[in-house]
């Protein structure tokens, strides 16, 4: 009897999910076995999958995405954490400012923000190279090398997510009762110890959870690549989703796009499960 009731409660969410998410997913899966631009269609079986796995561009995009992963997780884990821990020590007003300042960029139009960053790293007139020249360093063609281009885009993307994470971390931190922290202080602990023994263990489940979301999201970075590098110097900054967009949408090859999306799910699910295993071991 209990079990039936559960399904009853799942119904509203379930209906929407099945109709508007699951059904399109199944349609997409079916589509991946065809080559189609919706005007002419041809059943090709697994050819789209084999093409994808042997295509140098697609494989390059997987490699690129892993680069992005590394960059965004490094930046996206430590920086928000540091900011939240610092803001925790100060007043509500300070925290409000921090929350606002970091969150607001994510509310602005991606196009405008991308254009601004594009100028900052412009070769001849950008702010970055100007600062370098003041310091006596040679200018760098920021958008012309894979590592720097991916680095900048990761920066922009983390910039957009950071506000959200900082708000979350602060929310968790504020659940710590004041007495606990105060008694630790009285016992002679300094800030470092408070951080490592009390606060960080409290946040760590959330940090790991957010890392999972970050992994999923880095493979899906699309808008900034479209606006800034079009896949980058010789296709070295394209993520998997950007590659799907290029091959599937610009050329109207929807079968290919669907097959590559399925491959993407397999890859990322694999990464997510691997991450879970690692966590369980620790």
């Amino acid at each position: 009897m209990k079990t039936n009731k559960a399904y009853f409660f799942l119904l509203p969410a379930g209906v929407f999910f099945v109709v508007f998410t699951l059904t399109p997913i199944i349609m997409m899966g079916a589509l991946s076995l065809f080559e189609t631009n919706y005007i002419t269609s041809e059943f090709v079986g697994l050819r789209n999958y084999i093409d994808a796995l042997t295509s140098p561009d697609f494989r390059q995009s997987i490699v690129n995405s892993l680069f992005y992963c590394v960059f965004t997780i490094t930046l996206g884990t430590f920086v928000p954490l540091a900011v939240a821990l610092t803001a925790y020590r100060y007043s509500n007003a300070y925290r409000d400012i921090v929350r606002f300042a970091f969150y607001v960029p994510s509310l602005a139009s991606g196009v405008v923000i991308a254009n601004a960053w594009k100028w900052i790293f412009d070769c001849r007139k950008g702010l970055a190279n100007y600062l370098l020249s003041v310091a006596g360093i040679e200018p760098v063609m920021w958008w012309g090398h894979q590592v720097t281009a991916i680095g900048i885009i990761s920066l922009i993307v983390v910039n957009l997510w950071m506000g959200h994470w900082i708000i979350l971390y602060l929310a968790v931190l504020t659940t710590v009762r004041k007495e606990v922290v105060d008694s630790a202080r009285i016992d002679g602990a300094n800030w470092q110890q408070i951080q490592t023994k009390i606060l960080i263990p409290l946040i760590s489940p959330w940090v790991l959870f957010i890392m999972l979301l970050e992994i999923i999201s880095t493979f899906q970075i699309w808008e900034n690549i479209y606006l800034l590098t079009s896949g980058g110097p010789a296709n070295t900054t394209a993520t998997v989703v950007y590659n799907i967009y290029e091959t599937g949408f610009l050329r109207s090859q929807y079968g290919t796009a669907s097959a590559r999306s399925v491959i993407l799910v397999v890859i990322v699910l694999g990464l997510a499960l691997a991450k879970n295993r690692l966590e369980k071991r620790n």
């Binding site: 601004a116 659940t175 409290l202």
Partner: protein, 273 residues
Amino acid sequence: MKYLIFALILILLFPLYWMIIGSIQPSAGVMKLPPNWIPRNITLVNFAYIVKETMIFRWTFNTIMLNTISLCIQLFCLVTAGYAFAAYKFVGKQVIYWIFVASLIIPWQGLLVSRYILMRHLYLLNTWFAIIALNAFAPISFVFIRNYFEKIPTSMIDSARIDGAREIRILFQIILPQCKPILGYLALHSYLTAFQDFFWPMLVLNDKRLFTLPLGIVHFLKTFTSTHGLLMHQQLLGYELAGGVLLLLPAIIIFVIFRKTFRQQFLAGGIKA
């Protein structure tokens, strides 16, 4: 450390500063590299043009209205599904959870055309419901608050059941009040992000009176050159930035008004009994 953060904030807010000072100058003040740090020729002509030529007030109203309806349905679905996961053991719990996670991975671009076909056959094209339906159950919000629901001690629920309370009553009278902070957070977040999503509305809405604000502004910018000729292209940048400011403004206003919501402890270490 405190000052490092201020420096970081300055860098990260720079693009917004650039956008604001660009929108109040006539176009080329923007194009100059390096830009004028202090704006010259301050003028509101970019904003005036957009207000005159487009229906932005209607679009802003549309966006808020659309999001409110979306939100009500979304919260309803989230709370009921969350309760199902928290209060029951049932077959397929883990599987369903992982299906939700997997659905996050699929890029929305891949599902675009399939969803469009679906909407067509459900006669939902060119209606708001096409947009609402997609936001109604967001797996990411669910995955996010599932943790929250799991921390509710089942003892509380069991004791209520033993007392003979009906399930729905448990849900509404015991669980729901405890969830207010996080629901408040999700609500706020949904409004703030409603001012960015334009791709799907662009696909399904034909009638300009139904547009949301981001869609309306993108549409105005993109049809500008085709409508006004190539030689007027340089005015476009000013309008882009003004459009950006107009998109940001409602979101900032909402954020400032409801900032206390973010101060709440909406991520519980535990729930106060």
